[in-house]
Every structure is written in structure tokens, then in C-alpha cells.
């Protein structure tokens, strides 16, 4: 019996070692929690910063759209019929004498075409690039999704 006690005593840890282990485990848990918290804060802070950036860019886009529309109007005023006619007169142009017009046939030329601003006619489905949720989800979003997703697909649970 004494031999057994001696054996146990020989291999059991000293009280200070147990305390140290306890502290070590606590610290490891603490470090893990701090790491997780750090990652969480970093991710959410980055997301918030990106969100603000997106909001800022949207405002910029709106401002640029306004600016472009305004510039188009300004350009149209500068090239309006009245101004171009005035410039033509100032530059010495005059109405053509119909008798002096020479008509020649240009193969393949069908006259001045109507304007085409965009792809003509039928709309087609444009494939939208799908970004994996792994690149768009925040850590919290991912956690929430994990909680919400049943471990067994619902289809398999039914009778």
C-alpha cells in the first residue's frame, strides 16, 4: 500500500505546478478570447470603414452624374443650331446653290444614319459575376448563418 502511495506521490504534480497549469489554461483561453475579440473588432471596423467608403463613393457617383448631365447640356448649348449657324456665317459660309451641287454615287454609302446610343433591340441576359459569400460575409454574419443552418437538411428530417 505504501508502495502504491509512494508511486502516486512520485508521479503526482506538485500543488504549485497545478496552479501554474490552471493559470496557463486560463491565460490561453484569455488569449484566444482576446484574439477572437481582436479579429472581430478588426473585421467590423474594416467593414464599417468600407461601408462609409461605399457611401462616400455613392455620393461621388451622384455628384459626377450631375456634373456629366450638366456638361452634356453645356456642350449641347455650344453646338446648338443657332450658335453653329452664327459661326458658319461668321466664317463666310453661305447657302449652297442647287445648280452647283455635284452628286456622285459612293458604293456602300447609304446616307447619314440615325444615331445609335446603345446596343440595339432585344435585351439579353448579362451574366452577373457571383462573388462567394466567403468574401462578402462578416464574421458575425457567418456565425449567425451557422446557427440558422440546420445540421441535417430539413428534407431529410421529414417522415
Amino acid at each position: 500500500m505504501d508502495r502504491v502511495l509512494n508511486f502516486t506521490q512520485a508521479y503526482s504534480q506538485a500543488p504549485w505546478r497545478k496552479q501554474l497549469q490552471g493559470i496557463g489554461i486560463f491565460l490561453i483561453v484569455l488569449v484566444v478570447v482576446l484574439l477572437a475579440a481582436g479579429i472581430f473588432i478588426s473585421v467590423t471596423a474594416n467593414t464599417a470603414a468600407m461601408g462609409k467608403e461605399i457611401q462616400r463613393h455613392r455620393l461621388e457617383i451622384e455628384a459626377l452624374d450631375y456634373e456629366i448631365a450638366n456638361k452634356e447640356s453645356q456642350l449641347a448649348i455650344l453646338t446648338s443650331s443657332t450658335i453653329l449657324k452664327q459661326r458658319a456665317i461668321e466664317m463666310g459660309f453661305r447657302m449652297v446653290d442647287p445648280e452647283k451641287i455635284i452628286y456622285i454615287q459612293v458604293p456602300g454609302y447609304a446616307g447619314r444614319n440615325s444615331v445609335l446610343f446603345a446596343e440595339a433591340s432585344q435585351p439579353t441576359m448579362v451574366p452577373v459575376p457571383v462573388i462567394s459569400s466567403e468574401f462578402t460575409q462578416s464574421w458575425v454574419d457567418w456565425l449567425v448563418q451557422q446557427f440558422r443552418t440546420p445540421l441535417i437538411p430539413l428534407a431529410e428530417v421529414g417522415p
Binding site: 467593414t47 462609409k52 455613392r58 450631375y66 456642350l75 454615287q105 445609335l116 446603345a118 433591340s121
Partner: protein, 585 residues
């Protein structure tokens, strides 16, 4: 040792405890207690607000891409009471730059945000780009260096904080009055009136949305997308439109007419290349509608109704030829009068023209002859069947607001009389629009096929351009009838001295002079097209109450000649012999 430091530890503990309790109490106060005055202003703001999202209005272009109606940047200047530092500066600057009343602005800016019914007060909704830029410069100057920017020495900070300058888009019309009767307008309140602007408002405006916008950056991607209004490409050709407006202005002056209209249509496609009407608004400037449009004026005469007079004889003759009751050589003896229900139909000069043929009846525009055709040769049923086939009394559906459908009294209506048949045959007692006349007579120019006039060429929406194909409105007459009548009308133009057409272009046409009820003056019209063997343009001219002469042959005939002269150059149409030699190669 421990006893020695016990007091220090206890003191430190108490201090930390007091700090902790203070923080907890403060947190409790913030959560539950009455908020601070400054916070109270934002009490209702939870990071979300209802916002009206207004899509950008679509642009309007001519067929070659020249901008006819677009958008320009203007600004709303407002006061945001929460941010006002010095109401005096705001009142002073806005009274000088925006010509607002100093006292009014001061009273508005000096209100307490928490007591005011609303914290956002609009001062001016239509501030120009230049004025807004000046205000923003001043605002920045005062923000960066208030002293240098004119702060007084009495220690008062001059600031334009709280003056909010927000950009927005307003309608702009770069071409001024060009085609304004076609385009219509959008007023400062954003309502569209007349023309394409009103008729196609549903396409141009997009769909306004009321949405909750969150300031939360995590919800940045949730911002709602709004679809802007579609842009439109019209069939109008800016150069032709400009030339027609210039010609109309000139001839209005020469003829002393009260109002006038010229329309140019492609007879094969129904595309309106130009449509002008007087008076016109200069859409780029300030105007008073009541001053410009006086009694009897309409926004667009091309879609307004009137008694067309002799141009309608084309319809009667088309019916006679197509039904086989007459040929160009069918004889008719004009005695100068035709009795119908006790009324006597007379010719334009009151004379008797003696032996005639259908061709010369048209050439001399004899009312008696045409009334005879309608009453004796065609009969009421056949005549009105053709009037229906030519779709009189029905709007053409052109993409313009307020198109009039005309007024035809058909023989199955109670108030119809036989005299209506006689007068209708030469275009009196029947109300039609110039655009309806073009639609109907396009059948004569276009091998018997009547085209639907349209002014919308394409719609640009979501990156796609949808182009409209020409539509055949019907085939009221045969190809043979169309050719026969076309030649008859071409010979009329050739025989008339007034036309003096540009050499080497064969065109067809017909004048029309109509009396106006209770007025000694007339409505003068002309409808014509060319080249006859391959029609590229069809023209309708209407001058209301000219004073230089009451006869269309002297008023609208010369206009048609000038129109053709300009059109053949602008549309690159070679003289007939050149065209024939080029196509033969």
C-alpha cells in the same frame, strides 16, 4: 507591512468605486433621463430616414443625336437649424447673393432648432450653378479662416455653417425654341406640359420611390437602386426642323398670317422629320404663356383641327378613282352651281367653268365638280366608307400630348344632312388635323399604303436601344389609284405658275383654301410630296388667316416651293435625271 498600506489600498478602492458608480449613473442618466438640449434635436433620428428618390429624367435627342432636352445642375439653398452658428451672416450673404429679404432670412435662421416646426428650411429651390459656386466658395473661406474672410473685431464669428447647398437636376433645353412645339416642356415644379414631354412622361420620368435610407455603414449595400427615366430619340432632323422654322417665320411675315404650321414627313415610314408651329416658346428662357399664346393660338397646330378646304378634294377624288366611278378623263360640265337640299354649291370664284374632266376639276379646284362626284357618282355610303378607311375622325396616335381626333359628321348620325356630303367633298364642314391629312394622303404617295405618322424613333432604356419600325395604318386605295392620282396631282403642280418648282424635281401637290365661320379671312393649306416616282418627303403647310391674300395658291404655294428647294439639299436628293442615271449604273 500590509497594515501600513491598508489605508492607501482602501482609499484607492473607494476612488475606483466612486468612478465606477459615477460611470454607471451617467450611463443610466443617458439611457433613461431627459436628454441634453443638443441631443434632443437628434432625438428622433435613429440613423434611418424616409427619403424620396427621384430618378434622373431621360434626355430627348433628334434622329442624329443632337440633344434637344437634357438636364442641368441647379441648387437648393436651405438652412439647417441644428448647425447654424451665426444667423446674421446667413441672412447677410443670402440677401446679397440670392437677393432674398434680409429680415425674413434672419428670422428663419435665428429660430431655436428644438422649437422650430422643422429644422430644414428651404430658402431658394432654383439657385443657378454660378451663384451656388459663389456661395460655396464663401462658405469654405469662412470655415477655413473666419477672420480673414471678414470676421468682425467684436469677437463674433462670422460663419455660414447651417447654410446647406444641395445640387439637383433641372430640365434644360439647349436648342431654345427649336422644335419646342414638339418637345413640350417641364416647368420649375417638375410638371410636364404638351408635346413629347407630357405624352411620354411615363417613360421619361422613371419611377419615383420612397425609401428608408440608413446611415449605418453596415447597411451601405442595402441602398436602393432606382431606375432612371428612359431617353428618347425623335424622328426629327434638327437641320430640317431649323430650316422649316426659318421658312415659316419668313412667310408668316410675308403673308401676315395669324399662325402657321409646316410638317415634313417621310411618306414611306411615317417618320416626322420636322414639325413646326407658331407661336413657339423659347424653352431656355423665361416666358409668360399667356403673353405668347393669345386667343386662337394652340401649342402645336399640326395636331389641332380645322376645316382643310380643297386639300380634302384629294380624298374625294381618290374615292372616285378607286371605286371606279370616275377616271381622270371622265367629263363634267360645270354650270357654276349645284343645288343640294336648297343650298347652292359654288366654285371658289363663283364662275361656271364649262366642259371639264376630272383632271381639270382638280387642276381648277372646282367645288361644284367635287360635290357632284360625292353626291351623284359616289353616293353617301361609299363616300363615308372611304372617309372611314382614310381614318378621319380618329387620332393618329402620334406621340404628342393633346392630339385632336377631328370631327366628322357621318351619314349615320342624326344631325347629318345631304348638304354635309356636298361640302365635305371639298373639305368644308369637316374638321381634320394636318397630321391626319398627312396620314391619309400618304396612301396616294405610298402605293396605296397609309403609314402611321410617328415622332418617336427609339427608346434607350437600361443600356438597350429599342427602335420603332414603320407601321402601315391601312390600304384605303389600290396601288393603281395611288399612281393615277399621284400623276394627276403632279401635272397640277407642273401646270400652275405659282409653284415655280426647283428644276428637275417632279413633285405632286394640292392647295386648299377654306373659309372660316364668322370670319372674312381664310385658312390656306398645301399638301405635297416628291419626287413622285420615289417619294422621300411629304409636306403639309397651314397658314391661318393670312392678310396678303386669301388664296392658298398665292400664300402656301410659294412656301411649298421654298420648302422643296431646302429639302432636296438637306436630304441629299439629286435632281430626277441625275438620280435616274445614278440608279441605272
Amino acid at each position: 507591512m500590509m497594515e501600513k498600506h491598508r489605508f492607501r489600498y482602501a482609499t484607492l478602492g473607494i476612488v475606483f468605486a466612486i468612478f465606477g458608480i459615477a460611470i454607471i449613473l451617467r450611463l443610466f442618466q443617458i439611457q433613461v433621463g431627459a436628454p441634453n438640449e443638443k441631443i434632443q434635436v437628434y432625438e428622433d433620428f435613429d440613423g434611418k430616414e424616409w427619403v424620396t428618390l427621384t430618378p434622373a429624367r431621360g434626355d430627348i435627342y433628334d434622329r442624329h443625336g443632337s440633344l434637344l432636352a437634357g438636364s442641368q445642375l441647379i441648387y437648393e439653398v436651405a438652412i439647417e437649424l441644428n448647425e447654424v452658428i451665426n444667423p446674421t451672416t446667413i441672412a447677410l450673404v443670402t440677401s446679397v447673393e440670392l437677393e432674398l429679404n434680409y429680415h425674413d432670412v434672419f428670422l428663419k435662421a435665428n429660430q431655436k432648432a428644438s422649437e422650430a416646426p422643422k429644422t430644414h428650411i428651404t430658402l431658394n429651390y432654383f439657385v443657378s450653378y454660378e451663384k451656388a459656386q459663389k456661395l460655396m466658395e464663401l462658405q469654405n473661406q469662412l470655415y477655413e479662416n473666419p477672420k480673414e474672410a471678414g470676421a468682425s473685431n467684436d469677437g463674433i464669428i462670422h460663419s455660414l455653417s447651417g447654410l446647406v447647398i444641395t445640387p439637383r437636376l433641372d430640365r434644360s433645353y439647349p436648342e431654345g425654341d427649336l422644335a419646342s412645339n414638339v418637345i413640350g416642356l417641364v416647368d420649375k415644379e417638375g410638371s410636364s406640359h404638351n408635346g413629347v414631354e407630357e405624352r411620354l412622361q411615363w417613360l421619361l420620368s422613371g419611377v419615383e420611390k420612397q425609401e428608408i435610407i440608413s446611415a449605418d455603414p453596415y447597411r451601405a449595400m442595402d441602398l436602393p437602386e432606382i431606375t432612371d427615366g428612359a431617353s428618347l430619340v425623335l424622328t426629327i432632323d434638327r437641320e430640317i426642323q431649323d430650316a422649316m422654322e426659318e421658312l415659316l417665320e419668313h412667310h408668316m411675315g410675308v403673308s401676315g398670317a395669324y399662325a402657321g404650321s409646316i410638317i415634313v414627313m417621310h411618306p414611306r415610314t411615317g417618320e416626322i422629320l420636322a414639325m413646326t408651329s407658331t407661336p413657339r416658346l423659347d424653352l431656355s428662357g423665361e416666358w409668360n404663356v399667356d403673353e405668347i399664346y393669345q386667343e386662337g393660338h394652340t401649342f402645336n397646330m399640326a395636331i389641332d383641327g380645322y376645316e382643310p378646304g380643297s386639300v380634302f378634294k384629294i380624298i374625294t377624288m381618290a374615292a372616285a378613282l378607286d371605286s371606279g366611278v370616275a377616271t381622270p378623263e371622265t367629263p363634267f360640265t360645270d354650270t357654276g352651281g349645284l343645288e343640294v337640299e336648297g343650298w347652292t354649291i359654288r366654285n371658289w370664284n363663283g364662275g361656271a367653268w364649262g366642259p371639264q374632266t376630272m383632271k381639270t376639276c382638280m387642276e381648277h379646284s372646282l367645288n361644284v365638280c367635287l360635290a357632284y362626284i360625292a353626291t351623284e357618282l359616289l353616293g353617301q355610303n361609299r363616300f363615308y366608307d372611304y372617309v372611314r378607311a382614310f381614318q378621319f375622325g380618329q387620332p393618329t396616335g402620334i406621340e404628342l400630348a393633346w392630339e385632336y381626333g377631328g370631327n366628322v359628321r357621318f351619314n349615320n348620325e342624326d344631325d347629318w344632312h345631304l348638304i354635309d356630303l356636298a361640302t365635305n367633298s371639298y373639305g368644308q364642314g369637316i374638321e381634320v388635323t394636318p397630321i391626319q391629312m398627312l396620314r391619309a394622303v400618304s396612301a396616294v404617295a405610298n402605293d396605296g399604303k397609309m403609314v402611321t405618322p410617328h415622332i418617336l424613333k427609339a427608346v434607350i432604356n437600361n443600356g438597350h436601344q429599342y427602335t420603332f419600325e414603320p407601321e402601315v395604318a391601312g390600304s384605303p386605295i389600290s396601288k393603281q389609284t395611288a399612281h393615277t392620282l399621284s400623276n394627276m396631282l403632279a401635272q397640277i403642280v407642273e401646270s400652275e405658275s405659282y409653284t415655280d418648282m426647283p428644276e428637275n424635281y417632279r413633285v405632286a401637290g394640292k392647295t386648299g383654301t377654306a373659309t372660316i365661320y364668322n370670319d372674312s379671312r381664310t385658312n390656306t393649306s398645301f399638301i405635297g410630296w416628291g419626287p413622285v416616282d420615289d417619294p422621300q418627303f411629304m409636306v403639309y403647310i397651314w397658314l391661318n388667316k393670312p392678310t396678303s391674300s386669301q388664296w392658298a395658291s398665292l400664300v402656301t404655294g410659294p412656301i411649298f416651293r421654298d420648302v422643296v428647294e431646302r429639302l432636296v439639299i438637306l436630304m441629299d436628293i439629286p435632281p430626277d435625271h441625275v438620280r435616274h442615271s445614278l440608279t441605272a449604273d
